[in-house]
């Protein structure tokens, strides 16, 4: 009985023109955007490699003393999963400046001469295609699931058969979700085949796992939307009314709440400006540099030399003194930056809590965390860059003490590895739970409404 009802729903939906339209749109947008995004990825990876090599070249003629003043540029890592989800990596500055004695903050570096249109537009990625386009298609496909049949009178006929209402609504739910999953799954599979065949982007095994998880979370998000649509369709008598209500809900949930929630969070949980952090850090740096100069002068007096770098013992002691002072500068700066980072985390969390009213925020949080292009990425990257700075510090101090010439080959390679998939997945558990419970609650709502309300 249940199966024949599901079959009826499926056939009804699959043979409709709406379904064909939806499939066409999903395939067109998914495949159209992925090729552009893969090309962009290839270009960015090539640029990033060339830039890293070029950066080493620029340090060819330097020496340790100068190196610690100028510091160096590190390329912003380009992750292959970025082709699926852009997250916060929307036209970011391509490099970071690290290990600079005069300005010890690790900071992004870019040029004012860049194409700002990319900043102005919304990236067309899986998050956008599923979160915005698919969710709209879900509403279009399901707004009249119950109210439409009621208007046509077929529902009355259906109920004259010995079919329990609970089975009927359950069949509608299953049939509807299966229909909606089909265009997504077809599109997503084509995407996987396209990525495999083109060979431009190589996914590791863990990346494929993330690919799968992103697919699953997308299906869950679609199920949420469908359940909500079913509830609305059960609630209203006319198909046109339910369509209006659903579009209103969609505009609020997908286009408004996610975009407004960061601003609301900012109003309640402020964050210091980047400039103020810079000023504080420069203040500490300046104080410590004055202290360092005084200590170096004392050192000269103690060793009784006019210039501390002219005598071997004074030199070794001086280098250590400078290294210690440099360490303290970085520690002081890091403490200030950490305070701001803590504020940022607090504000981001608050924005997520406010935003979770909308399933789109939960969904966006899941996919950006899994693909590791969300707000967590830059914080993690900065931690790894700090470790890299520490390596450079050790290298520079040793090099200065032993008075070996600087060579660009000595520079360690900076490799960014994102946290393991398990850890990233664990961060998204709350959002999975929110989406799942939303889907279940809406289905129960639809169930109760369908079972108890008058049909005629």
């Amino acid at each position: 009985m249940l199966w024949s009802l599901i079959e009826k729903e499926l056939k009804n939906n699959l043979l409709s023109m709406r379904f064909v339209f939806s499939l066409a749109i999903v395939l067109l947008v998914m495949l159209g955007s992925i090729q552009v995004r893969m090309d962009d990825y290839v270009q960015s990876t090539l640029d990033s490699r060339a830039n890293a090599a070029a950066e080493r070249q620029t340090h060819r003629d330097t020496h340790f003393w100068r190196f610690q003043w100028t510091g160096m540029f590190l390329e912003r890592p380009v992750l292959p999963l970025g082709i699926l989800v852009t997250g916060t990596e929307r036209n970011p500055d391509p490099r970071f400046r690290v290990f600079q004695k005069s300005k010890p903050i690790i900071r992004p570096s870019g040029s004012i001469d860049r194409n700002p249109l990319v900043t102005l537009s919304t990236p067309v990625d899986i998050m956008f295609i599923t979160g915005v386009v698919m969710s709209l298609l879900v509403l279009v496909l399901s707004f009249d699931a119950v109210s439409g049949e009621r208007e046509q009178g077929t529902l009355k006929l259906l109920l004259s058969f010995p079919v329990p209402r609970s089975v009927l609504i359950f069949a509608k739910w299953i049939g509807g979700i299966l229909t909606l999953c089909i265009p997504f799954i077809i599109g997503y599979l084509c995407l996987a085949i396209w990525i495999l065949l083109s060979g431009d982007v190589r996914f590791a095994a863990s990346d494929w796992l993330v690919f799968l998880l992103i697919g699953l979370s997308s299906l869950l998000y679609i199920a949420w939307m469908f359940s909500a649509a079913l509830l609305v369709s059960c609630w209203f008598r006319h198909a046109a009314t339910s369509m209006c209500m659903l579009l209103l809900m969609w505009v609020l949930l997908v286009l408004v709440i996610p975009n407004i929630s960061p601003y609301l969070a900012a109003a309640f949980s402020p964050v210091d400006s980047a400039q103020s952090v810079h000023f504080k850090s420069m203040k500490i740096t300046k104080e410590l540099q004055n202290e360092e100069n005084q200590q170096l002068q004392e050192l000269q007096k103690r060793h009784n030399v006019p210039r501390w770098w002219q005598e071997d013992n004074a030199w070794r002691e001086g280098v250590e003194l400078v290294a210690r002072s440099h360490d303290r500068q970085r520690q002081g700066t890091r403490a200030i930056v950490d305070r701001r980072t803590a504020q940022i985390i607090r504000q981001t969390d608050l924005a997520h809590i406010i935003g979770r009213v909308s399933p789109f925020v939960s969904y966006a949080n899941i996919v950006t965390t899994l693909a590791w292009t969300g707000p967590g990425f830059e914080q993690h990257l900065r931690l790894l860059m700090r470790e890299y700075e520490d390596q450079l510090r050790r290298m520079t101090t040793d090099g200065l003490k032993d008075q070996v010439p600087f060579s660009a080959d000595m520079l360690p390679h900076f490799r960014y590895t994102p946290p393991p998939v398990g850890a990233r997945f664990a961060q998204t558990l709350v959002d999975w739970a929110v989406l799942l419970s939303g889907a279940v609650i809406f289905f129960l709502g639809a169930y109760v409404s369908f079972v108890t309300r008058e049909i005629i």
Partner: protein, 455 residues
């Protein structure tokens, strides 16, 4: 006759449930957006004041000339007053810019509170009209013709001695007027809110710009309305019309404006910053070697020689910068032209230009940054020359103390205000395209309706 038709259509719209939803939604969203962005603007202004003071203190803390040369001056643009309505490229334009004696201009981070702000679009007035307004316009009209056919009222109407063009024109005019009403009310509310906002001074310039943005918004919504009318004239069932309208909306509003900048990036790549840096290094070395072989023998004073070489190097490097800027410009024009297939992109360009946060203002700002760099370099040379005079051969110029007159030599960073005429000339092309879309779509709808089978 026409008036009677128009009246009937307008009343039909006003009593419609969809109309009430449009009215409530637009007013609500525009209100929320103005409130949130105004709160954010307050913070941006506070941060700007803080940065101004800090930058000044930081520059003046440099006691010696060499210290000033290495620290340099940091400047930033004042947050634009109209950016509450359309943030556009304001974030890019208000980044801190550091000029120093021997480095390239360094830009600070984009002024957002957290990285999360980069993930979602800014919910400003332009966004609401561009995305939500266009959707509402289509929803408003999709069944204007085919719905009446389904109901049977169209057939009835055609039995009266009414020319078909009257019917369509009445539908169009009534629809656009009915759309203008909620938009006008919302804009009026917004204007009143801004007028009474403490700290926001409404000038004539603001009023004219805002009025023009309202007009462009009406034109834009009318383009989508006419598109919906065309679809309605081409289909015979309301659900089909709705499907096609949503399909077109996804394509025109969500896909084309967002995908085209990426396509342009792939078609016309810009050399990366690392590549440019290496090229600059080679160029500088080349110029230095050339100078060593040629003019070194002619110039006897070492200081003068170094100064000449530095000037030549700076000129050569500026050439490379200019090359990159041109490539960026080419990519940008391509992206804009490709996006203009969609009226949504045209609207975004035109409205943000009128609010001084558009591409035109940004390009102007980029040029000003390059120009200010030259001014700064002239001041820098002047300061060094003065320090050299003070040292007068006894010691290094860099060891001299910075005098207060030296600080006075540094030019103030004041990007020129964008005049209304400039904004308008930037926006005019896109406004023209939106009008053209309106005309073409209306003619198409007219032709389709004349041939429409009402049976």
């Amino acid at each position: 006759m026409f008036i009677a038709l128009l009246k009937k259509e307008i009343l039909g719209n006003l009593y419609n449930q969809r109309y009430v939803i449009t009215l409530v939604l637009l007013t609500l969203l525009i209100g929320i957006s103005a409130w949130t962005l105004e709160r954010a603007q307050e913070t941006y202004l506070e941060q700007y004041a803080e940065a101004l003071e800090g930058n000044k203190a930081e520059a003046e803390a440099a006691g010696k000339v060499w210290q000033f040369m290495s620290v340099g001056a940091t400047t930033e643009k004042e947050p634009g007053d109209l950016s509450i309505l359309g943030r556009g490229l304001e974030g890019e334009m208000t980044r801190a810019l550091s000029y120093s004696g021997w480095n390239e201009v360094e830009v600070g981070t984009v002024k957002t509170f957290t990285p999360l702000f980069r993930m979602y679009a800014v919910p400003d007035f332009i966004y609401i009209i561009n995305i939500i307004g266009s959707l509402l316009a289509l929803l408003f009209v999709y069944d204007a013709v085919c719905g009446e056919k389904e109901n049977g009222t169209l057939r009835l109407k055609l039995t009266y001695p009414l020319p078909r063009d009257y019917i369509l024109l009445a539908k169009w005019a009534a629809g656009v007027l009915s759309l203008c009403l909620p938009l006008g009310l919302a804009c009026l509310g917004l204007g009143v809110y801004l007028f009474f906002l403490p700290g926001f001074e409404v000038t004539l310039d603001h009023a004219i710009r805002f009025a023009l943005v309202f007009l462009v918004s009406v034109l834009y919504l009318s383009a989508f309305f006419t598109l919906g009318l065309l679809v309605s004239c081409l289909t015979h069932r309301a659900t089909t019309a709705l499907m096609i309208c949503l399909f077109l909306w996804i394509l025109l509003v969500l896909t084309i404006p967002n995908l085209m900048p990426m396509v342009a990036r792939a078609l016309k790549p810009i050399p990366s910053e690392g590549k440019i840096a290496i090229e600059k290094q080679h160029k500088a070395r080349e110029v230095e070697e050339w100078a060593g072989n040629t003019i070194r023998a002619e110039i006897h004073d070492m200081d003068e020689y170094h100064e000449t070489v530095a000037r030549l190097v700076a000129k050569a490097l500026e050439g490379i910068n200019q090359f990159r800027r041109n490539r960026v410009q080419e990519q940008m024009s391509l992206a804009m032209n490709l996006s203009r297939v969609s009226p949504a992109a045209c609207y975004q360009f035109a409205a943000s230009d009128l609010l001084k946060t558009g591409i035109g203002s940004f390009s102007r700002f980029q040029r000003y940054v390059a120009w200010y760099r030259q001014l700064f370099n002239q001041a820098k040379d002047h300061i060094i020359r003065r320090a050299r005079d003070r040292a007068a051969g006894a010691g290094w110029w860099g060891g001299q103390d910075m005098a207060s007159e030296d600080f006075a030599l540094i030019p103030a960073f004041k990007p020129l205000g964008v005049s209304f005429a400039d904004s308008l000339s930037g926006a005019l092309f896109d406004i023209g395209i939106i009008i053209t879309y309106n005309i073409i779509l209306f003619l198409a709808a007219y032709t389709a309706f004349l041939r429409y089978d009402a049976k």
